[in-house]
């Protein structure tokens, strides 16, 4: 899957490019609207993109103009807009101009990736994956969780935290990242609410079971692994 990223800030652009690259996408990064438009229309670099990630504030030609020109030319490429403007009318304007979705800066990469995946979802990947760690199984479609075949009832937040940890099994996820995923980054409870959820999850998943699957990394966060 080929993605064109148009972003004038090099660090942000590079971050998006590498992140998407690691997630298995082929990414081209350009720094201005003119160049991006030429590439998207296939006049330079061969074209053939499946998706575009577009920053709205660009030198020479604004993201909105790129979008309008693209749609005027009848290019139906899915477009994910990056914007620092979080006002609703601005987002509505972008969507009216033909954007398919937007992410507000600063964004968690997880969120960008989720939206890219959603936009680029092809029919064959519609059936959602099942996550497994040892005897613990999480079905992201039915949102059902079982351990050793026995059903475990989880509240929505417990499910969200567990899903996030299982998606990144074997990797230490920090409390902040977990909070961002299960709530959103606007929510800053000031207490380690994640700890409470983990305590509950342990009771339901690890109590009187071996091996223990949820592990604490002191001062940082949690990891799910065998």
């Amino acid at each position: 899957m080929k993605i064109l990223v148009i972003e004038d800030d090099k660090t942000v652009g590079e971050y998006v490019r590498r992140g998407l690259d690691e997630a298995g996408y082929h990414v081209d990064l350009v720094g201005d609207g003119d160049e991006g438009l030429r590439r998207a229309s296939g006049k330079v670099g061969g074209g053939g993109y499946d998706m575009m990630v577009l920053d709205l504030r660009l030198p020479r030609m604004s993201g909105i103009d790129v979008l309008r020109t693209l749609r005027d030319r009848g290019v139906g490429l899915p477009v994910l807009v990056l914007t620092a403007q979080d006002s609703v009318d601005f987002k509505v304007q972008a969507l009216r101009m033909g954007a398919d979705d937007y992410v507000t800066k600063p964004f968690a990469f997880e969120e960008l990736l989720a939206r890219v995946e959603a936009l680029g979802r092809r029919p064959k990947s519609i059936s959602p994956p099942t996550l497994k760690v040892s005897g613990l199984v999480l079905d992201t479609g039915s949102r059902e969780v079982t351990r050793d075949g026995k059903r475990i009832e989880l509240t929505p937040k417990e499910y969200a935290v567990l899903e996030y940890l299982m998606r990144h099994q074997g990797r230490v996820m920090s409390r902040t990242l977990i909070t961002e995923y299960a709530w959103d980054y606007h929510f800053d409870p000031g207490t380690n609410i994640v700890d409470v959820v983990i305590t509950r999850l342990r009771k339901k998943i690890d109590q009187a079971k071996e091996p223990k699957l949820i592990h604490t990394v002191r001062g940082v966060g949690y990891v799910v692994r065998t």
Partner: protein
């Protein structure tokens, strides 16, 4: 008086009444003295006329006194007939004090009254002297002005001439004058005050119009409006121009704020994105040592805090401009409160606080901005848990009330001092540090300001009741049909 119009009318009326009153008093006093002077002149001339007639008659016939049938001296009848036409009270006495003549008016008096007058003529005055005086005939009789004089050149028989007139007619005229003044006063002053009030109102009408016009300029969107400047080059047109100039400056600073809002979004958020990107990449890389992870985690947390603060500031800046930055759709509020409630349960569990959440059995669909409402609910619940000591209780309730959805968060926490209560929705306001548990970081100080904005942008209300040591209750009321904040 609350209005300039009322004050102007009052001053005008006072000035008018005072000047008319001074005028009336001066007029009355002058007329009064004139009237009495007239009266005195009249009796003077009556006395002089009598003296003249007597002198004339004496020169013509010598003797003027004769005895009547009873042997009493009296004025010769033909001379008496001449004096008969003199009005008022006229007495002529002989040198030895006997009455020689009395005019018809004097004869009409009672004997007692008559004797009082007669007594004044004794002893007879010296030749050529005039003795004016005033005399009240008792009891309850009229007051007389009189004059007593001698009758020279009329032989040696005459003692005194007494001429007097009562003041009744003069007083009657003065009473009539007074009545006229009083009637004229009311007939003149009342309409004058009414007209004065009307004129003041008319003169101030442009001010009322300006007040209405300025009042209609409520926020950033209506700042382009200007007041109509009156044609006349008077104080009001200068006032309108001054207000217009002020609004131009205001509009410019609002425009600058809008530009800043847009710029700040980009100029501050892009670097934050960069910091975030770096930290996030580092933190999610497999195999990072925990001691490296901890500071990265703290950095990430600070980035989020800054982002949140920036978002709040920008939201409030836009709210000041009057832009209701909402994306409304019909939502069952139970979903939002239930979700926020779960978070509340987690927070309460951590803080050792009991929590109960009551939702209505039926869906409560209200057109709201879902994420803003979630923010509002989370903020209030989080605050309630934060300020409730271990063992306390937080109650969250959602209810449909005719035409309104009412969301209540009540706690049994430390409460808010009455003096602080009016400020809880102010930006960057915090109660003294005692309100915050030392173990926790204080928030941005914008949370409740944002809550207030969210409630009001939905056309709703937010209220707080609190008793120190007993607890606090926040009540949010939202209209169930879409209305925008005024």
């Amino acid at each position: 008086m609350e209005s300039i119009r009322g004050r102007l009318t009052l001053w005008y009326a006072t000035a008018l009444i005072l000047s008319i009153a001074v005028f009336a008093v001066v007029l009355y006093v002058a007329r009064r003295s004139d009237t009495y002077q007239d009266l005195d002149r009249r009796i003077q001339s009556e006395a002089d006329l009598t003296a003249g007639i007597l002198a004339e008659s004496y020169r013509a016939r010598g003797t003027l006194v004769e005895n009547d049938t009873a042997g009493r001296p009296q004025l010769t009848p033909d001379v008496a007939a001449v004096l008969e036409v003199v009005p008022d009270y006229l007495l002529v006495t002989s040198r030895d004090g006997r009455l020689l003549f009395a005019s018809p008016d004097a004869r009409a008096l009672t004997f007692g009254e008559f004797e009082q007058l007669n007594a004044i003529t004794r002893p007879p005055p010296l030749a050529d002297s005039h003795t004016p005086g005033r005399y009240g005939i008792r009891p309850n009789g009229p007051t007389l002005h009189y004059i007593v004089r001698a009758a020279p050149h009329a032989g040696d028989q005459f003692g005194a001439i007494f001429a007097g007139a009562d003041t009744r007619s003069a007083e009657l005229r003065l009473e009539q004058l007074l009545l006229t003044i009083v009637i004229a006063f009311f007939v003149g002053v009342v309409p004058a005050i009414l007209v004065g009030g009307w004129l003041a109102g008319r003169a101030l009408e442009p001010v009322d119009r300006m007040i209405t016009e300025v009042r209609e300029i409520t926020d950033g969107r209506s700042l382009h409006r200007r007041l109509a400047v009156p044609m006349a080059r008077d104080e009001l047109s200068r006032l309108a121009e001054t207000v217009n100039q002020m609004m131009t400056r205001l509009e410019r600073s609002f425009a600058a704020l809008r530009r800043f809002t847009a710029d700040a979004s980009h100029e501050l958020k892009t670097p934050l994105t960069v910091v975030r990107a770096g930290v996030e990449r580092a933190i999610t890389r497999p195999g990072v040592a925990p001691e490296t992870l901890a500071p990265l985690e703290e950095t990430l947390q600070e980035v989020n805090r800054m982002t949140e603060l920036l978002d709040s500031l920008l939201t409030l800046a836009r709210a000041d401009e009057g832009r209701a930055d909402l994306h409304r759709e019909p939502v069952d509020l139970r979903e939002i409160i239930e979700e926020a409630g779960e978070t509340g349960e987690l927070l309460a569990e951590h803080a050792g606080v009991g929590i109960d959440i009551r939702l209505p059995p039926q869906p409560l669909v209200v057109p709201v901005d879902r994420s803003r409402l979630r923010q509002l609910a989370l903020n209030l619940i989080e605050n309630a848990v934060k300020y409730t000591p271990r063992g306390g209780q937080v109650s969250v309730e959602l209810a449909g009330d005719n035409g309104r959805a009412v969301f209540t968060v009540a706690d049994t926490g430390i409460g808010i001092a009455p003096g602080d209560l009016p400020h809880v929705f102010d930006r960057f306001w915090r109660a003294d540090s005692a309100r915050t548990r030392t173990s926790e970081r204080a928030g941005t100080g914008l949370g409740l300001a944002i809550c207030k904005w969210i409630a009001e942008a939905h056309g709703g209300t937010i209220e707080v009741q609190s008793r120190p040591g007993r607890g606090t209750t926040f009540t949010v009321g939202l209209p169930r049909t879409e209305t925008t904040a005024s």
